[in-house]
Every structure is written in structure tokens, then in C-alpha cells.
């Protein structure tokens, strides 16, 4: 079946502009995650959705970043007044969430969106 998809694959914008990054999770996956990965770094957690609600948004770096998932499927990460330091690959992942008896549900990653802020 289809995996996680992200659009656009690349986005070049100018400093100060607004951008939206889209993630389509695997059908039926209730959990959705956004990460940011800079060159030479591991993925940095941004936000985690369980259904429509943000269960943990502690990774969002500041109030220029926010994300929505209005119908519990597609999610959009929105960045206002972009800065050069926002340049990175933004990864989205989704997973099934089973009972609390399971330590972890495998996260399936999308191909990412490479954001470049000039």
C-alpha cells in the first residue's frame, strides 16, 4: 500500500515568507509526527498528533511554527516569517497506536521536504 507522502519535496523561499508543508500519513495510522533534520544531525522532534489533537508540541522551536491535522489524517506544518535557520529537511512519520502494553509502534517516515530559506 501507499506509504507516507510529503509535498512539496523541495521548497525554496525567501526570509520572512510563510510556508506550508503537507504530510499524508498511511491510511489508518492515528499517530502522526513531525521532525526536523539538519545536515549531520539526527531528526529533531517537533510535534506529535494523536488523531486530530496535538498530544505533544513541546518540540516546536517558537511560535512561528504550528501544525494542524483537522480531520485526523493529513497534516500541515506551517512556518511564519521564515528565517535562514529554518532551512532543513522536514520529516513526517505516522504509526498505528496500539494498547499501552506495547512499548512502541513502528514509525513509517515520508521522504521529507527540503526547505531552503534564502
Amino acid at each position: 500500500g501507499a506509504g507516507v507522502s510529503q509535498t512539496p519535496s523541495n521548497k525554496v523561499t525567501e526570509k520572512g515568507k510563510y510556508v506550508e508543508l503537507r504530510c499524508d500519513p498511511i491510511s489508518g495510522h492515528t499517530a502522526l509526527y513531525w521532525y526536523r533534520q539538519s545536515l549531520g544531525q539526527g531528526p529533531e522532534f517537533l510535534i506529535y498528533f494523536q488523531g486530530t489533537g496535538a498530544a505533544d508540541d513541546s518540540g516546536l522551536p517558537n511560535d512561528r511554527f504550528f501544525a494542524v491535522r483537522p480531520e485526523g489524517s493529513v497534516s500541515t506544518l506551517k512556518i511564519q516569517r521564515t528565517e535562514r535557520g529554518d532551512s532543513a529537511v522536514y520529516l513526517c512519520a505516522s504509526s498505528l497506536v496500539g494498547s499501552q502494553a506495547f512499548a512502541y509502534n513502528e514509525q513509517f517516515f515520508g521522504p521529507g521536504t527540503r526547505l531552503t530559506v534564502l
Binding site: V4, A31, Y33, G40, Q41, G42, P43, E44, F45, Y48, Q50, A55, D56, S58, G59, V89, L91, S95, V97, Q100, A103, Y104, N105, E106, Q107, F108, F109, G110, P111, G112, R114
Partner: protein, 113 residues
């Protein structure tokens, strides 16, 4: 502060060599440790190790969790050029529905023909 440290940061080997990648962690309420392979953009899942499953093997790849030493190793035998990638280690800390992974920086492996 929770952290995951991987070593070495980069490694260059020849086809056929065996490599061992290391991951150590300091987290509260350890739940599981994960290994991922990242070739271009998307990390792909390799193994999950928990207290009840401390050793996993798949083909030429195997991994062991040492809960006493708070570490894990990923072994790749008879390496191939297709094994060239960044290998990421992540730990799931906490209890309940916390799914926030703590990631290491990764080990960049290059396998030369």
C-alpha cells in the same frame, strides 16, 4: 537531560568487511531502543529492542541491547555497497502514550567496492 550518543560518527570500509556500530543512552524510564537506516531522506525501520527482546537478527544485520551498560550495538557482516547509509539509533523514554523518540546523530557508513 535524556540523550543518545552514537559512535563512530563516520566509518569507511571495503565490501565484505564486518562493522559494529555503537549506541549508548541516558534516558528516564527506558522503554525501547530502535535502529533505523537512512539512505536519502526517509529513515527506514530496522529493529526494535526491549527488555523482553534484547537481540534481533535479519539477514546480515543483527543488534543486541545491553541494559546494564545502557547501550546497543548494530552489526553488519559481509558488507555491501548498498549498506552505505546513515544508521540512526533512537530511544523511547517515559511511560504511557509518550511516543517522542530521542535520536542520536547517526553513524555515516560508506562501503567501498
Amino acid at each position: 537531560e535524556d540523550k543518545v550518543v552514537q559512535s563512530p560518527l563516520s566509518l569507511v570500509v571495503h565490501e565484505g568487511d564486518t562493522v559494529t556500530l555503537n549506541c549508548s543512552y541516558e534516558v528516564t524510564n527506558f522503554r525501547s531502543l530502535l535502529w533505523y537506516k537512512q539512505e536519502k531522506k526517509a529513515p527506514t525501520f530496522l529493529f526494535m529492542l526491549t527488555s523482553s527482546g534484547i537481540e534481533k537478527k535479519s539477514g546480515r544485520l543483527s543488534s543486541i541491547l545491553d541494559k546494564k551498560e545502557l547501550s546497543s550495538i548494530l552489526n553488519i557482516t559481509a558488507t555491501q555497497t548498498g549498506d552505505s547509509a546513515i544508521y540512526l539509533c533512537a530511544v523511547v523514554p517515559g511511560a504511557g502514550n509518550n511516543r517522542k523518540l530521542i535520536w542520536g546523530l547517526g553513524t555515516s557508513l560508506a562501503v567501498n567496492p
